[in-house]
Each structure stands twice: as C-alpha cells, then as structure tokens.
Amino acid sequence: MGVLAWTMMGLALWHFSIFLPDRFWGGIVGAFVAALLGAIAFGFLVNGLSIPGRGATHLLTALDAIPGALIGMALCYLEGARRENASAAKPAL
C-alpha cells in the first residue's frame, strides 16, 4: 500500500512538471521516470528501507514521496540542462 501511495504522489507531482521548460533529461518521459523513482526511493529510505504495509500506511506515508519526487525531477532537469549547455557549447563544424 505504501508503494501505491508513493507512486500516486510521484505521478501527481509529475503532472505539474509541464509548467517548466522542457529541459528534462529524456524530456517529459524522463521527468516521469525521475518523479516515480525519486518518490519510491525516498519513501523507501525514510521508512527504514521497508515498504509500509496496509496497516502501517497513513497520510504521512503519502507525503513521504513529495521530497523524493521533487528531488528526482530536479536532478533530471539539472542533468538535462547540463547536457543541453554542453551541446550548445560545442563549436559547429
């Protein structure tokens, strides 16, 4: 149940990435993967490397995913921007 809550939260937050310029590494799909992986990985970490079961899932479990999703998307964005800048800096042949 914990994974379901994290996944939903990651997916929910990903929807708002559309307001940002499309500089994500891998584009909107890269942002999707980053949000989901970030949400699940962070939730897993803050819950002591365990997945809360049905009895242990509560409101905070869902909120656990927010930092992870944001971090994931931020990293994806930064990597995308870095690659874009590196590509733009290459001299045209």
Partner: protein, 983 residues
C-alpha cells in the same frame, strides 16, 4: 469476385449463421453458473505429499478425475472443476446446498493408512509402547489396550509438543514439517496445521507471540477414535479431541484395498451399526497377512508381570490424520496372521450416510496430492434466479440505450448498426449455448460490455464515413473509404482488448475467467458483425435512395471544425489530473483501500430474516459461538428485502451451517433460501492479488509491444503513462468513496487496461496518418489537427461504452455493480487520458526530435510563434494516395478486367456522370494547393534550419514529400475534387 457478389455472399453467410444460431438457441440448454443457479463453489490449493513431492500437472489431472467422480455422488447438475492459477482447483457444484457434505466429499484426501499399533504409537517418553509393555509400564499397557479411544489419548498441545521433540526421520505419509500455533500461557489451540511458518501466520486464529511447534517428517499426531455424533472424517475442533503420537510408518495404504462398501456390523456379537467392509488387492492381501502374523506372534511372545501369557496386539486404521479403528488381532485364533481373502471391516460410530461416503472415498482412492480448502461460496437458488433476472434486465437496458444512441446519432447508419448489434446478440447467445459457456454474473458483465465494444467499431467507421462524405465524396465512395480507413484503428483497438482478455483468462481466478472469456469471444464476434456484416449491408444498399444523400448519414453540411488548442491547454488538463491524483494519493495514505473478504479472508453471510432483529441481538447470538468480533450490517435490496443482515467474521467454512442454523432458530430465515455465504482463506486472497499483479504486468508488456510494433516505440510510452493514470485514478476514487475492492474490481481494472486504449489508439492512428500528410507542420499542430478530427468519434465511443456500463450500475445486482463502478471510472478516465494525457506526452516527446525542432524553428521564423493549427505553408497537406506513383494506362472506357468488373466500371461511370460536374480545363494558376504548391514552388530549403542527423539533410519522414519536390509527377488530367481528399 466483384464487390456486389462479395457483399451478397457475406450477407448469405450472416443469414445462414442466423438460422444456425436460432436452431442452436432453440435446441441447446443454457448452462448457468452457480451464482445464477445457486449452489456451492469450493476452491482448493494443491499441496505436495510424501508420495507426490511436487504438484505436477499430471497429479492435478488425477486429482480432478477423482474429484469429478466424488462430485457425482453429490448429485450436482453440471458440476464444473477448473484449474485456476498455480495448482488451484475450483469446484463449482450448481444445485448443491449441503456445503458441509460437499467439503467432506470433494476435497478430503481420503488417505487410508494402516499402522502396526504398538510399534508405531509412542508413549510419553517418545518410545513405542511395545517397549513399555515389555517393561511393565502401565501407561504403555493402557495405550496398547485402549482401542485408540480418547480415554488414553492426550491433549492436542501435549501431543504436538511431544511429537515436536522427535527428530526428523524417513517420512511415511506426510512429506515435510508441520507447524502448529498455541497460546503461550494457556496452551490453547490457535491455528494449524500448516506446511510452512508463513502459511501458519496467515491462518485464522494465529496471533503474534503465539508458541509455534514444529513436527518434523517421520512423526504424526492422530486424532483419537471419535465417539458417536462426531464427524469421523474431519475433526472440527481439534482442541476438543484427544490425540496420539505415532511414528509415521504405515504398513498398508488405501491403494492396497478394493471393493469398499457400506454394510452393517451384523453376525454374532455385531452391533448392527453401519460399517465399511472392503477387500484387499493381491499385494495388500500378502502384506495384511504378514503384518497381522507379526502382530499375533508379538502378542504371543510378550511375557511381562501384567501379561504372563501374552496379550493381543492391535492394528490401527487411520483416515486423514484421524484414527478410525484400532482392531485387536487374536494371537491364539490367528497365530499365522489373518488371510486377507475375506477382506476386513472398519467399524465406527458412523451414520449410514457417513459410512456410504467413507466407502465411496476409499473406493475412489486417495487424492494424489493434498488439497487445502481456501475459499467456499454458497448461493441459494432463489438468489441466483434473482441475480440472473437483474443481469438480463441490465443487459436488455444496455442494449436498448446503445441502439437509441446509434439511431439518434447516425440515423440510417445507426439503424444498420442496431441491426448488426441484434445479429451480434443472437450469435453470441448461440455461442454461449453451443460451446457451451457457463454463464455467470461476471460473464454477463463481459457480455454487456461487448455491446459497447461492438457499437464502438461502428462509430469509428461511421464517423470516418461522415468525414469522407463531408469531404465531398459520393455516399458509396465515402462508405468504401470509411471502412477502408477505419478498419486499422478498429483492429488495433480490438486486438489489444482480445489480448488483455486472453491474459485475464489465463491468469485470473475462476470467477474472473468467465468475464474474460465472454469479453474475448464477444469482441471477436463483434468484429464480424460490426465490420463485415454492416459493410456488406451498406455496400448492397449503397445506391438505394435511402442513403443517397449525406444527410441520411448524419453528415449534412461541412461538419463543425473544432479549433481548440488541445496541446496549448494541455498544461491545465495536466494540472487537473495532477490535483485528482494528489487527492487520491492522500486518500490512499489516509483512508487506504477497503478490501473485501476476497483479500482479507473470512466469511461473509447474508441472510434475510423473518423476525425483527437488530445488530445487538444478532451479536448476542453470535458471541457464544465465538464470533463476538463479527461485523454486522443491516441492509436492504430487492433480493433480500428490508430485514436483511450481512455478517462478516472469521467463520470457518465448515461452521457456516452452524451459524445459519442459529440464525434460523432465533430469527428465522426467509423461505430458507435467502441465505448466501462466502468463505475465503488467506491463501486465496494472496493468490488473487498475485495473479492481478502478474496480469497487469503481462498486459502492460503485451500492450507496449503491440503498440511499438504497430505504431512506433515512442507511441507506447505515452500509452503506458495514460494507463497508469487510469488505474491510479480508479484506485484513488475507490479510496475516496470507500467502496469495497473485490475480485470483480480487479477484473474491471484489468479490463480498463485493454479498453482505455481504445480511444488512445483512435487518436494515435490519426496522428500516424497525418504525420506524412503534413510534412511541414510542427508535431503539436499535427496532434491538434488529429484531435480535432477524431474528438467527436472518441467522445462518441466512450459515451457509447458508458451507456451499457450505466445500465449495469443501475439494474445489475451487487456483483455487477462492482464491475460497473470500476469500469465507469476507468472508461471515463481512459477517454480523458487518451485526449489530455497520452497525446500531450507524445507531443512533448516527439517535439524534441530534431526534425520537429527544425520545423518549429522554421514556423517561428515565419510567424513569430507556432500557431495551434498549421497555417500558410505549414498547413499544406499531401494527398498520399495521389502522391504515390500510379500507372495509368489504357483509356477511361476500357476497364481493367483484373481489377474491375465491367458492371462495376459501368457503375463507376454512372457515378461520375450523376455526381460530378464535367471536368474543367486545367486552370492556368498553379495546380491545387494541397499537392501542387510543392511542385510548382519548391520551398527555399536553404532558408530553413535543416534537421539534424540525416545524411542528406532531410528528415526521415520528409522523404515522401521531398521525393515529390525532386521528382515532380507527370502532369495529369485534372481529377474531380470529390474523389480526392478535401480539407
């Protein structure tokens, strides 16, 4: 074969099949499942035994065969035993009402075991009692001569604890260790036996901190011979019985006996009670003589203070961990053992019915594997009939509303579609009878859903026909083009539905299998009726006055062109979905999902009571039975009336009858038929959940592969994201509304996987079609154009599917409503996500490709911004059909015999004369804008940013257009514009 002949041939086949279907319907019986007919369903999980260490398919087959013969004893009408999942067997017994007897007969292992009593049974010191007898141990003497009755037995805890002290040794009957759980202080029985520690934790009664005892292979605990009135086959309350610990060293097994039959203990000294007599096989006879000889001689040789002249020793018979009889072998009468030629008898405190059942079980032989009962369901015939009526009403209502919608929206075409739907219904009903398909409530849900699927196929084609007619084609030409162009999308969408249904059928539990089967078969049949039959009808009447004008098709006027900027507004739609998912995630975290007993395990009873009752009075009745924590809810519906109660508790399947009897005696149960029970073990819920996860993953993989193959791999990713969106939104809605999640919900979720793709495929199919046709447009413009073209049809198909689902929701029973609610949310979400999630994701992703970056830069350079729809040169489209090089030989008056019959050619000529204006001389200005601009005025390539990564500087999908620029086609005669695309 000309088109007319082909159409007539198809109509002939349709008519013939209709006649055959009518005959089939009239002559064959409909097989109803037990949810519609009433009866008992038992689901078993196969477990290995010492003789069968691995549950193989062969072992399951043999078990099914034995169970089938046992089922015949119950007098079930059309019993059905199916495998489901891994090593599971679902036994449906329509018409059977005695749940307890069904459990006793069907899944009992019936492992008959013969032990040399004194060398096998163990004393408190864990040594065989024969050692104690020789050492004058009075306890050993008592056990030896106690006849296996409860007086000399010990408590269950003492027996298990004693047995747990013995090391593992060579297994006899039981293969692996056996786990039991007891209360740590009181030592009262909690749960067991289980094959694994995990399984033990999942059993009802187990609680954290329980004392777990493990009996290693080579030792068994057997329930003492039971007294009159107790069930000799299965111990209902193990803690109430007395037990013995034995070394698991059987001397004979059930396979060594033959011809068992119920008899009476007659003759001199006989009690006259019912018993079971049997004979031995050749091997059994020899072994029986050997073992009784050894027992007799041992009795003669015992010399102790208590028995200076020896003492008779015993031979024990056990059936499935219960001692049936411990018989004494007279050492003086049979010093050389008993010849098994005359067989033997099993005496016990049997009723005639019990003795008959036992004889039958022995006769049919032991099951090759152990079967663990993991789920039971008991539906009364009255309730089944009512459920059937509700299903039929829901189906009829769904059919009617779909027909009405088609008539209102498509007029004459709608009438033909309605006719095809009628044909479909007849075919499908005939197939149900002829195959035969056992009709269940989930099956009816699948059937009703396929009505929507069948109508969707017509909608996709009719919208295309209307589009072609509005573009200026004659009605026959529009019909031909509509079918030709719409077929791809229909096949793609239906193949995905069929694949999902197939996966569901392979992996799902038996209840869901019926749904998957009807959905799959229905989709295939609907392809025939909705596409081939309607095409033949329309093709035949294509020149009739009935559909001579576009208005008859509902295609009057130019149609309303939608100019909404879908891609521009996508961020708001994304935000909308994001907010819904955010709320859903919080709801999942805060409220969780309300899982039904399918996942929680336990028993749910529903009973219509005749006397007034309330929750407290029912609880006071249940508390003494041990169910004080039962969840009791009053409810009312058409089936049960207004004084009905639902009780959910951890009631063992074999205790259901006891609870029913208690309810009936205190409050009365309406007509004794308005009672329904469903028991689910923890293993079953886990199996359902696991199979659902596997089915979802398998479906996603198959869908992705199909989309990647049919479209492009980049099209598959937005599809997966949209599917995930649909599933999670449905989960969120379930959490918010607190609706119960059942196996029906899981089936509906899996159906959503297949069905929500329908709209996505329609949109993507048009995008795929428009990409080469719009070689200068930005991808967002292509998608906007595609969306504007297919939005009506996408909305119409979703609406048409929602109509029968709504009928299910309004008129169906509880099970159908479960399906309908999940489908309603999923299909609505699927329609939304196709347009507002999948397409924008595809757009954003494709726009990153160099070719579309270049186009976007060029358009921005021309306009300062990228308009929502292509304008100016970006809006130029290529008529791909006419762009392809066509060899035009011969003259107009000479038909090509190999492709066109003379009749068709004449018909075509008539069509040209009647429908078209006479050809005008070629205009002096550049030829028609759509194709010729590029020819007459090649684009200034140097001024445009060139796409990257292509050796010749051309984008891969621009090849066709570039080909036109580099190699203009030869001047052709002006074509009549009604035979080309006109946008």
């Amino acid at each position: 074969m000309s088109a007319r002949v082909r159409n007539l041939a198809i109509l002939g086949v349709v008519a013939l099949l209709l006649v055959a279907a009518g005959v089939g319907i009239a002559t064959q019986k409909t097989i109803l499942g037990l949810d519609l007919k009433g009866g008992v369903e038992l689901v078993y999980q196969g477990r290995p035994t010492a003789a069968q260490p691995v549950v193989t398919q062969d072992a399951l087959d043999r078990a099914v065969e034995i169970m089938r013969q046992r089922v015949d004893q119950l007098g079930a009408l059309n019993p059905d035993i199916q495998r489901s999942g891994r090593a599971q067997l679902a036994v449906a017994l329509p018409g059977v009402s005695d749940l307890q007897r069904a459990i006793r007969l069907v899944g009992t292992p019936a492992q008959l075991v013969f032990y040399d009593w004194e060398t096998s049974v163990l004393g408190p010191d864990n040594k065989p009692v024969i050692d104690g007898i020789n050492a004058d141990d009075p306890t050993a003497d008592a056990i030896s001569q106690g006849g296996g009755f409860r007086q000399t037995g010990i408590s269950l805890y003492a027996a298990v604890k004693q047995a747990a002290k013995r090391p593992a040794s060579k297994p006899g009957v039981r293969l692996g260790p056996q786990y039991w759980a007891f209360a740590p202080k009181s030592h009262s029985f909690l749960a067991g036996p289980a094959d694994t520690r995990e399984e033990l934790r999942g059993l009802r009664g187990y609680r954290a901190g329980a004392q777990v005892l493990v009996i290693q292979p080579g030792t068994v605990v057997l329930q003492a011979v039971t007294g009159k009135g107790e069930n000799p086959i299965a111990g209902n309350r193990p803690q109430d019985a007395q037990w013995y610990v034995l070394k698991d060293q059987p001397r004979l097994l059930g396979k060594d006996v033959k011809d068992p039959k119920q008899d009476f203990d007659g003759g001199t000294g006989g009690t006259g009670n019912p018993d079971v007599t049997f004979k031995f096989t050749g091997t059994g006879r020899r072994e029986f003589q050997d073992v009784t000889r050894a027992i007799a001689q041992r009795g003669q040789n015992i010399v102790s203070q208590a028995y200076p002249k020896g003492v008779n020793q015993n031979f024990a018979i056990a059936l499935d961990n219960t001692l049936i009889s411990v018989a004494s072998i007279d050492r003086n009468q049979y010093p050389d053992g008993i010849d098994g030629a005359n067989g033997a008898q099993i005496s016990g405190s049997f009723t005639i019915q019990e003795a008959q059942d036992l004889a039958q079980l022995i006769k049919l032989g032991a099951l090759p594997i152990n079967l663990k009962l993991i789920s039971t369901s008991n539906v009364s015939a009255t309730l089944g009939k009512q459920a059937l009526n509700q299903g039929l009403v829901a189906g009829g209502a769904g059919f009617l509303v779909v027909v009405l919608f088609l008539l209102l929206f498509y007029r004459v075409l709608g009438l033909i579609a309605a006719l095809a739907l009628g044909v479909y219904a007849v075919y499908f009903f005939a197939l149900i009878k002829l195959i035969p398909i056992t009709l269940t409530l989930p099956g009816i849900a699948g059937l009703i859903l396929t009505i929507g699927v069948a109508a969707d196929a017509n909608i996709v084609i009719f919208e295309r026909v209307k589009e072609e007619a509005r573009a200026g084609k004659s009605v026959p030409a529009a019909i031909a083009a509509g079918y030709k162009k719409g077929l791809t999308a229909i096949i793609d969408a239906n193949v995905v539905t069929i694949m999902t249904a197939f996966i569901l059928f392979i992996l799902a539990t038996s209840e869901v299998k019926g749904f998957a089967f009807t959905l799959g078969i229905g989709t295939i049949v609907s392809l025939f009726t909705a596409v081939m039959a309607t095409q033949a009808i329309l093709g035949t009447m294509g020149r009739s006055r009935l559909i001579s004008r576009p208005s008859a098709l509902g295609a009057k006027g130019g149609g309303r062109r939608i100019t909404f900027d879908f891609m521009g507004a996508s961020r708001w739609f994304f935000s909308f979905s994001g907010v819904i998912l955010l709320v859903g995630a919080l709801a999942i975290g805060g409220r969780g999902l309300h899982f039904g007993i399918d996942f929680e395990s336990g028993t749910r009873l529903q009973a219509a009571l005749t006397k007034p009752a309330d929750e407290n009075s029912i609880r006071s009745l249940l508390s003494p039975l041990g169910y004080s924590d039962a969840k009791i809810q009053k409810f009312s519906n058409k089936q049960f009336g207004s004084n009905a109660f639902q009780i959910t508790a951890k009631i063992a399947p074999e205790k259901v009858t006891r609870v029913r009897d208690a309810l009936a005696s205190r409050f009365g149960i309406s007509s004794n038929a308005r009672f329904q029970a469903q028991s689910v073990g923890p293993t079953f819920g886990q199996t359902v959940a696991n199979s659902a996860v596997v089915a979802i993953i398998a479906s996603l993989i198959v869908i992705s592969l199909y989309i990647a193959l049919r479209f492009e791999w980049k099209y598959a990713v937005p599809v997966l994201i949209a599917l995930m969106h649909d599933l999670l939104i449905t989960a969120g809605v379930y959490s918010l509304t607190g609706r119960e999640v059942t196996t029906s919900t899981v089936a509906a979720l899996l159906t959503i996987l297949g069905y929500s793709l329908y709209d996505t495929i329609i949109v993507f199919d048009r995008v795929r079609e428009n990409v080469p046709r719009m070689p200068r447009a930005a991808f967002s413009q292509i998608v906007n154009r595609s969306m504007s073209e297919v939005l009506t049809r996408s909305l119409a198909t979703s609406f048409c599917t929602l109509l029968p689902i709504l009928a299910l929701l309004l008129f169906g029973g509880t099970t159908l409503k479960d399906f309908a609610f999940a489908l309603l949310v999923g299909v609505a979400s699927g329609a939304y996500s196709s347009i507002f999630i999948a397409s924008p994701v595809l757009t954003h992703w494709k726009e990153r490709e160099s070719v579309y970056v270049a186009r976007r830069h060029r358009i921005e350079a021309e306009h300062g911004t990228v308009p929502a729809y292509p304008t100016g040169r970006a809006g130029e489209t290529v008529d791909l059909d006419s762009a392809r090089p066509v060899s035009r030989r011969g003259r107009l008056t000479t038909p090509q015999e190999e492709t066109l019959s003379r009749g068709e050619f004449e018909s075509l000529k008539r069509d040209l004369v009647l429908d078209d204006e006479p050809p005008k001389p070629r205009p002096a200005r550049p030829a028609p804008r759509r194709r010729a601009t590029a020819v007459a005025e090649p684009p200034p390539e140097a001024a445009e940013p060139r796409p990257e990564g292509n050796g010749d500087g051309h984008a891969p999908d621009e090849a066709e257009n570039d080909g036109m620029v580099a190699r203009p086609p030869k001047p052709k005669k002006p074509r009549n514009r009604r035979h080309g695309r006109n946008r």
